[in-house]
Amino acid sequence: MSIIQQHTAASLTDAWRTVNIDILTEDSSVNFDTSTLHPPQPEVSEADVRTLSTQVRQLLRGGDAEGALRGCLETPVYNGTDGAKEAHLQTIIEVLQSIKASDMTPLLKGIYAAPGGSELLDVLMKYIYKGMASGAPAAAGLKSPAKMTPQSTGFTQIGSRPGASNEPASAAMSVLLSWHEKLVEVAGLGCIGRTMTDWRRV
């Protein structure tokens, strides 16, 4: 029997390559709850976030920017409702916006040098990325992301950049960008790597 006869239509196409064999394997990662691989995180409620947020605001008013920032970063919301996570992000962005550009680097260096500081800066990086990802943070407030979507066309000026309403949002974004720059200077690329690999999402 020639080898050629053994070919069938199925073996000549590439269709078999698209078979997701992980589904067919009993103990593969898709048939397994990967969250059980990690120790559970304590749940943070929305009320906790609000209490913290008032405390942080008090610190800010008292001029203790570093204390305020540390306070936020020490209690990241890894396990909580979307509302709690969003509220904590707003608190952090408020703190970040209230700190002068010239104070950023010394403040970050101070935190980095303290014990456990590297971990805090990793948390900060996570929130910076989260803030950037959420499009119009802080100032845009509770503006729904749905309103933002029609702008995704890139270079078109008309309509896509409604100046007035977006102004505060882009201001917040530039704050985040400058924090990102300063943070990488202090905590290095390792900080970005940790933000990407970490399974604890804020």
Partner: protein, 363 residues
């Protein structure tokens, strides 16, 4: 200190390299072959090409005493290459895995080797005299993902494995009839096959690239993709470890790490150079690079004349040649291994990387 020995073998990535005990032979994994280089003067010349795998070879290891070479590949096979007067003779080892084999290492006793795989198992292979055959036993539970690296304890019974499920684990790979019963130690007292002696992950839990036991075997270090190294000091069987020390760094992740001595670890990876960590049970810290950058651009110092400057401007449109990294390796270092050990300390180590270079460093 003498300058590092640089051997630029070819312009392909080196997945893994291994020196023979006398340092006269160097085996490197290149594409789907294992290339053997022999020392001729100060250079390494291609001596033999071991062809047997039909997919990328992922790892290679030379047993220091017997001279046997084991290689494993993405074709799901491992081959043991037996030296003979007429060249190396391959023996296929049935690993019984359905995904790529990723990493292989001989045990210090050289009677066994362990193969990590993408099939969520580690195949521990040993030779059965009566059948004249390499047999494999699987370490399976509780591995949840691809094994990226394995490392043997000096007693040849315990095996550490790093995985993409972000855990570094210590298993017993005790094979009856092959191994002597191990002395009870910090990792456990009774150690039947597949006993899980420890399971560790660090805070941010990146997948683990490399694991290594300290020279005494009483501590374990692993490097993860979160740019950190973590050192674990176990306190005894069934007890939480005495200390788990994580050192997050500002650098890119490390692909490979070795212990220089109980108080020093060397790690290298995506930053294209090796870094030194020092410490002990009280804490570890990054102390600096192994490479000294005094000889910027390694050796080739250009004439800094106005003529040269304008010539460069004319030729390249810029004054400085910035197409080369300041490090010796010009790309990621994928493996580092001890090269020379004296008095319990590694005095030289070798590194190989994606740039096709093998470098021997003074540790």
């Amino acid at each position: 200190m003498a300058a590092p020995e640089v051997h630029h073998l070819f312009h392909n990535p080196i997945a893994d390299h291994s020196f023979s005990a006398d340092h006269a032979t160097l085996a490197v994994a290149r594409d789907s072959t294992v290339e053997l280089y022999g020392k001729a003067g100060n250079a390494f010349k291609l001596k033999d090409v071991l062809k047997g795998h039909d997919k990328t070879v992922t790892s290679v290891d030379i047993a220091p005493n017997s001279g046997r070479i084991v290689s494993c590949s993405q074709d799901r096979n491992a081959l043991v290459w037996e030296p003979s007067p007429t060249g190396y003779k391959p023996t296929l080892v049935l690993l019984r895995i359905s995904r790529a084999a990723t990493f292989v290492r001989w045990s210090p006793s050289e009677t066994k080797f362990a193969v990590g795989s993408g099939d969520r198992v580690i195949a521990v292979c040993y030779f059965e005299e009566e059948n004249d055959w390499w047999v494999s036993k699987h370490l399976k539970k509780p591995i949840r993902s691809t094994i990226t690296s394995v490392a043997w304890h000096p007693n040849s019974v315990l095996l550490a494995a790093g995985s993409t499920d972000a855990h570094a684990r210590v298993f017993s790979a005790f094979v009856k009839g092959v191994d002597e019963r191990p002395e009870p130690g910090v990792w456990g007292e009774r150690l039947p096959f597949n006993t899980v002696c420890g399971e560790y992950l660090n805070n941010s839990a990146g997948w683990v690239h490399s694991v290594s036991f300290s020279p005494s075997g009483n501590a374990l270090a692993f490097a993860a993709h979160d740019s950190s190294i973590t050192v674990v000091y176990p306190s005894g069987p069934e007890q939480p470890p005495r200390a788990v020390l994580s050192v997050p760094t500002q650098l890119l992740p490390f692909k490979s790490l070795i212990w220089k001595a109980e108080d020093e670890i060397i790690a290298a990876g995506y930053d294209c150079e090796a870094f030194r960590f020092q410490g002990g049970e009280g804490g570890w810290q990054l102390v600096g690079t192994v490479e000294s950058k005094g000889s910027a651009g390694h050796g080739e110092q250009r004439e800094e004349s106005a003529l040269n400057m304008f010539r460069q401007m004319d030729l390249k449109g810029k004054v400085k040649d910035d197409t080369q990294l300041k490090t010796i390796h010009q790309n990621t270092i994928s493996t580092i291994r001890p090269y020379e050990v004296s008095g319990g300390r590694v005095t030289k180590f070798s590194s190989s990387g994606v740039d096709g270079r093998v470098v021997v460093w003074n540790a």
